[in-house]
């Protein structure tokens, strides 16, 4: 694994250096090695000599695509490295007209599955970590679109395709995608609760939310220029972090990404209060699949999201 990481890191640096040196792009979003062995956070570089900062390994968990929103009003072309799950964020942003496709250079990387830093027991010495749930449940381990690739990864929109490229063996061995069938397990478990249990469950979650909006701010689908939760002036929402107001936020957020959530799992990963946000997203995905037919958001740019299109023969059950 270490050798594969070193090779991918090398390839990443070389490509970024070339792109910046030739002036093809103005900046590159990638990952860099953090302060501890289990941290590989985002980095943005703008000069060829900064390309050495780039690093790739099984801790490069951040989906970087949401950061592109800072460039939505810019004409600068930006390069960005994407794993399979991340790549769907690009489709999301392009479909939502937040990003001009020609202003972003997408570089696909093979993914070995990301380690769960919550399982670290020795903070000084590297150890084997279990995969994050989102990686065990992953159905798109390969980029769904890319202008360039490194590590020989295959670009494909095929659901449940096997992991490809330099990390393919590692990904299979580590269990990437091995729990795809469990994607809706949590939703089913919550649906089996009695109404009182379910209410108590969500009440406990809503009591925890601190309205930090990390879930919203990391999300490529949460891309409104102005979010109603930023201002209480219009009196639709207020800033009180009470369980009722938090529930209003949580449900509004989930409904707003319905049919557009690309299942990158970032919202849940970044929530400091450990709120099972993906359960809400998955509930809506399940419902949409049932009502409108199976649909994976952010896979095919030309396919309209079920709630973003209308047909003349739509059944209007509520009329």
């Amino acid at each position: 694994m270490r050798e594969i990481n070193a090779k991918l890191t090398q390839e990443m640096g070389d490509l970024a250096r070339d792109l910046l040196a030739s002036g093809e792009v103005k900046g590159v979003f990638g990952w860099t090695k953090g302060s501890r062995w289990y941290l590989t956070p985002p980095v943005f570089i703008t000069k060829p000599e900064e390309a050495d900062q780039l690093c790739y390994d099984e801790f490069a968990v951040n989906n970087l695509t949401g950061l592109l929103l800072d460039f939505r009003d810019s004409q600068d072309k930006i390069a960005i490295f994407v794993k399979g799950c991340d790549s769907r964020g690009i489709v999301r942003l392009v479909q939502d007209n937040q990003l001009k496709r020609e202003n972003v250079l997408v570089i696909g990387v093979p993914c070995p599955g990301m380690g769960d830093k919550g399982a670290v027991t020795d903070h000084r010495q590297a150890q084997e970590l279990p995969l994050l749930a989102k990686c065990l449940e992953c159905r798109y381990p390969n980029p769904v679109l890319a202008d360039r690739t490194i590590g020989g990864v295959t670009v494909t929109t095929e659901p449940s395709a096997a992991p490809s490229g330099a990390t393919a063996e590692a990904a299979k061995g580590r269990g990437v995608g091995s729990k795809q069938a469990d994607r809706f397990a949590q939703v089913e478990a919550i649906e089996k609760m009695s109404p009182d249990e379910r209410s108590a469950f969500w009440q406990a979650q809503n009591e925890k939310c601190i309205r930090c909006y990390a879930c919203r701010n990391i999300c490529p689908a949460c891309n409104c220029r102005e979010c109603i939760f930023d201002s209480d002036k219009k009196n639709w929402v207020n800033k009180a972090a009470t369980p009722t107001d938090n529930a209003f936020f949580g449900i509004t957020r989930a409904m707003h990404v319905a049919g557009r959530c690309v299942e990158c799992g970032e919202c849940e990963r970044v929530c400091p209060m450990d709120i099972p946000i993906m359960a809400m997203n998955r509930k809506l995905i399940g419902d949409l699949n049932e009502l409108f037919g199976p649909y994976d958001a952010g896979v095919k740019p030309e396919e309209k999201p079920p709630l973003g299109a209308f047909k003349l023969d739509d059944p209007e059950e509520f009329m």
Partner: protein, 337 residues
């Protein structure tokens, strides 16, 4: 000789204290560790720092200030009593005690007294616990905080291995220790407190305030801000961050409740002025404000860093924008001219 209670008497100690006041203990509530009111089902976790800082006991995330109604010229308002009765905060770490000192500076000094904070602070007895095993993200030693004990608390606990030693520092602390003695829970111990273990994170903040005085326009802020999400996670879990907004919870057009609720300089709306001008228009200015406030403006005004090294923001920042890394890079940065 130290007064002490055996660890297996912890429940009896807490039961005794809970009779006197609302007792806040570190615990895990719905999978998040935080200070929570003690009760029969509450499991106390003294082994590690909490995710949420204890500031919520003195400075709640949302607090009512007054209720109002205004029909025509008939206005009426009913203040909300800031008192919550006596509280004991049990098992605070040195970093969290230091955080409360920062809140004291802001809410109680320089002629600006926040009645809502002041009342709760006055009613609170603070019991600190010396750290034995620093967490992976801790760096209090670098922020001028002694992990082994904090001299500003009302009473200090020491881990003696099989018992907790307790030393009273103030009249409130004496009262608490006497109550435990009266309940027959205290013994004498000649054991020494366990030493504080090694820190994983290494950082040196020497001279940081002076260095930052020359770095308002440094390109570093742009670099840091590129990955920041401008969420409020770092500020809301920080024991020292104290910004709040005064807002309404309206019942209808005429009546409602005024609330004081947490706010953060990371939000775009935070510095937005009437008329639409925003002096901190982009992430760069907001990120700069966060670190400048903690490491430069606060020390300039109050003589202490506004970071206690608790490591919470390091643990929870979604993009791993570490304050220790900021300190390091600021110290290494070249300044023009």
């Amino acid at each position: 000789m130290l007064k002490a209670f055996p660890k297996d008497k912890l429940t009896a100690v807490l039961d005794t204290l809970a009779k006197q006041a609302t007792l806040w203990v570190p615990s895990v509530v719905a999978s998040v560790s935080r200070f929570a009111p003690y009760g029969p089902d509450r499991e106390v976790q003294l082994g590690a720092n909490t995710v949420m800082s204890p500031k919520e006991a003195l400075f709640p995330a949302t607090e009512k200030i007054y209720e109002y109604s205004a029909y025509g010229i008939d206005g009426e308002f009913t203040p909300v009593d800031p008192s919550v009765g006596p509280q004991i905060l049990f098992g605070l770490r040195s970093c969290d005690m230091q955080g409360i000192l920062c809140l004291d500076d802001v809410f109680l000094t320089r002629g600006y007294v926040d009645d809502y904070y002041a009342k709760k602070r006055e009613e609170a007895t603070l019991v600190t616990l010396g750290c034995v095993t620093p967490g992976p993200d801790c760096f209090c030693y670098a922020m001028g905080v002694n992990p082994a004990e904090h001299e500003a608390s009302d009473a200090q606990l020491f881990d003696l291995g099989d018992a907790y030693g307790i030393v009273a520092r103030t009249a409130k602390g004496e009262a608490l220790v006497s109550a435990l003695a009266a309940a027959g829970l205290l013994v004498e111990s000649n054991k020494a407190p366990l030493p504080t273990g090694d820190f994983v994170l290494k950082v040196d903040a020497e001279g940081i305030t002076e260095k930052l005085q020359h770095m308002f326009d440094h390109p570093l802020w742009d670099a840091f801000s590129r990955k920041c999400l401008n969420c409020g996670a770092c500020a809301y879990i920080c024991p020292t961050c104290h910004c709040f907004d005064i807002s309404d919870k309206k019942r209808n057009a005429h009546c409602g409740v005024k609330i004081k609720c947490w706010d953060t300089c990371m939000y775009a709306e935070y510095a937005l002025m009437a008329g639409g001008h925003n002096p901190r228009p982009s992430k760069k200015e907001r990120v700069r404000q966060r670190f400048m406030h903690k490491l430069r403006y606060f020390p300039e005004r109050y003589g202490k860093l506004q970071c206690t090294g608790c490591g919470r923001c390091i643990a929870k920042c979604p993009v791993n924008l570490e304050i220790t890394d900021v300190i390091q890079q600021v110290r290494e940065a070249k300044i023009d001219g």
